[in-house]
């Protein structure tokens, strides 16, 4: 499995002409864990979703190349995309409160994903569902399977979401801010769970977040996006050697316990970053 993105741009029409949300992003991904970091509106989510063609209908996508395992996503039909979505690449969204269907039980939603990509009986799907729920470390799979999303906590909901996306055993998992809506104590658990599953199944991971240290902890490689561009690409271990002033600025803003500061640094933005000419 290989993801190739070359010179990807995504624009949205506005009354004052098209507005570019992603401007010329290029990156490749093999069997690895890639983190995409950036602030809200930096285009990280759009970039990842464009791979699955899950953008809002008004989005205009152009690219020299946008391919998933050799399949050209730009020209792929809806039918071809459906054979990628779920089956080969899963997507985990931010808040299970909104991303799980409120009128279907957790079990129904997982079983649906399971059955879609394998021809199996209801009973097999039910057993697989319970097994998947156990794999995401839910202690009482039978109860959770019968519960509606509003009866589950955020962490539980996100486990259900992960189980659902793991069901077809995809090669790539895209996690779009998977822990931003969760309590701090649950965040680490969910990320560890995800990392564990990804490593054990030999899957690739794209982890989107605005939390730079967190991402570098779980990924092999990190790209930093700003205003629709990639401004820096680093090995996760080399975070301290970041060169771009934006990345350095972000890191400087972080409070640390070992070196308490009376006043936290704030970000001073250089308009030149917008053009990517720094």
């Amino acid at each position: 499995m290989k993801v190739e993105i070359a010179n990807l741009s995504i624009a949205f029409p506005t009354p004052r002409g098209p507005s570019l949300a992603v401007r010329g992003v290029s990156l490749t991904l093999g069997s690895e864990k890639l983190g995409i970091v950036g602030e809200s509106g930096s285009g990280k989510s759009l970039t990842a979703r464009s791979l699955l063609k899950l953008l809002p209908p008004e989005a205009r996508v152009t690219a020299d190349r946008l391919a998933f395992d050799g399949i050209d996503v730009l020209t792929a039909t809806e039918r071809q995309m459906r054979s990628i979505r779920g089956k080969r690449a899963g997507l985990i969204l931010q808040d299970p409160k909104f991303s799980l269907n409120p009128v279907m039980t957790a079990g129904e939603q997982i079983a649906e994903a399971w059955r879609l990509h394998r021809r199996s009986s209801r009973r097999e799907a039910r057993e697989a569902t319970l097994d998947l729920l156990a794999q995401v470390q839910i202690r009482d799979p039978a109860r959770v399977a019968g519960a509606y999303p509003h009866e589950l906590s955020g962490g539980m909901g996100q486990r259900v979401m992960i189980a659902m996306m793991m069901a077809p055993d995809p090669e790539l998992l895209i996690a779009d801010e998977p822990t931003s809506a969760l309590d701090a104590t649950v965040q680490a658990e969910i990320l560890r769970l995800m990392e564990d599953l990804v490593s054990r199944r030999g899957m690739s991971l794209i982890l989107i977040s605005h939390d730079l240290p967190l991402v570098s902890h779980f990924c092999d490689r990190v790209v930093v996006m700003y205003a629709g561009r990639i401004v820096e690409e680093l090995k996760a271990a080399g975070l301290a050697r970041a060169e771009h002033p934006y990345t350095r600025g972000l890191l400087a803003c972080l409070p640390t316990l070992s070196h308490p500061q009376p006043r936290l640094a704030t970000m001073t933005r250089d308009p030149a970053w917008m053009d990517g000419s720094s």
Binding site: R85, G86, L93, Q94, L100, N101, V103, H150
Partner: protein, 337 residues
């Protein structure tokens, strides 16, 4: 469990209060109308002493609150008084006329739902496209054209000009009274007693008024369905469903529609209630022997007991359909269950 009991008590109380309010308002509107029910009974030329006697017999000389008390007491015993026009008890009359209205409203409702809901879904799925615009104009027309106008236009075109459908009435005169009255709904009575000629004729008569009524309700149903669906389709869980690789049909019907049909039931119940009460104009244009026509005739004849009685019955139906929608909502939606 106590929470559920409390909800039940609160619902019952609110229904009772609504019904009482309905009775009060209906009664006093009936009394402040500048119509003298005695003139309606005796005619213009009755001698004054007779008028005075009837006034005392009917209790119209008593204070208004006392008259209301009598009315309310009788109402509790399901006695709505006698109709001056038909000389029958009002409740008996309503039992006679209501089935025809029920038949018409139900036929219209079925058509309106079967067309309106899919059209609304279609418009939402194709939002902003030509299909959407056509559906919206079509449904806007339905809610803008007055029903009597549409009814008469339809008669002019399909009855007078084209001759495709029979004109007014529930059935042609030759078939009148042939099928025995069981439910009061002619199409059904004719079908279960095997009077197929009557059945066919009555069905043809039903088509026009039912379609006119249906068009009006369909417009509303379509717009509401479209709105609900647009909301649902914007949900994050739709993105999840797409990311799973589900087919468009499954996303639309299982995931989006699955989230709105409970809300939709409320809309349908209220529309149905509106049809049961609001068929007055259509029934008049099509000479449909239903409650609407009974109410209109009673009004024109200043038959106050009949007017009060029919208004109350319509109000009660409305309140109970509302209640039914509420209960269904609570039973069906996992989020409020």
């Amino acid at each position: 469990m106590s929470g559920r009991l409390r909800t039940l008590a609160a619902t019952t109380a609110s229904v009772l209060i609504t019904l009482f309010g309905l009775t009060v308002v209906t009664f006093f509107i009936g009394r402040v109308m500048p119509i003298d029910p005695i003139v309606a009974i005796l005619g213009d030329h009755a001698p004054p002493d007779v008028v005075a006697r009837v006034r005392i017999e009917l209790g119209l000389n008593r204070p208004l609150w006392y008259q209301f008390w009598i009315f309310f007491r009788n109402l509790i015993h399901l006695d709505l008084g006698r109709s001056v026009m038909t000389t029958h008890p009002v409740l008996h009359d309503i039992g006679r006329y209501f089935p025809a209205t029920f038949e018409l409203a139900t036929a219209a409702m079925i058509v309106a739902t079967l067309i309106g809901v899919p059209l609304g879904v279609l418009a939402a799925v194709r939002q902003g496209t030509r299909t959407d615009h056509i559906v919206r104009v079509f449904s806007l027309a339905g809610s803008s054209i007055p029903v009597f106008m549409l009814a008469m236009l339809s008669l002019v075109v399909f009855y007078a000009a084209l001759g495709w459908l029979p004109g007014t009435g529930q059935v042609s005169v030759v078939y009148d009274g042939i099928a025995p009255r069981i439910t009061g709904m002619l199409v059904i009575d004719a079908a279960i007693t095997g009077h197929w000629n009557t059945f066919y004729n009555a069905l043809l008569h039903l088509i026009q008024p039912a379609l006119v009524l249906a068009y009006f309700s369909m417009a509303y149903i379509t717009r509401m369905t479209r709105g609900f669906m647009l909301d649902a389709l914007r949900g994050e869980y739709i993105t999840t469903a797409r990311a799973k690789g589900l087919s468009a049909a499954r996303i639309v019907w299982r995931h989006a529609f699955g989230n709105i049909w409970v809300q939709l039931i409320t809309v349908l119940a209220l529309t149905y209630a509106g049809l049961l009460e609001g068929a007055v104009v259509t029934e008049t244009v099509f000479s449909w022997p239903g409650l609407g026509q009974y109410l209109t005739n009673s009004l024109l004849n200043a038959d106050m007991n009949a007017v009060l009685g029919s208004t109350l019955v319509i109000g009660v139906i409305y309140v109970f359909l509302n209640l039914l929608a509420d209960v269904l909502y609570r039973l069906m939606d996992p989020r409020v269950r």
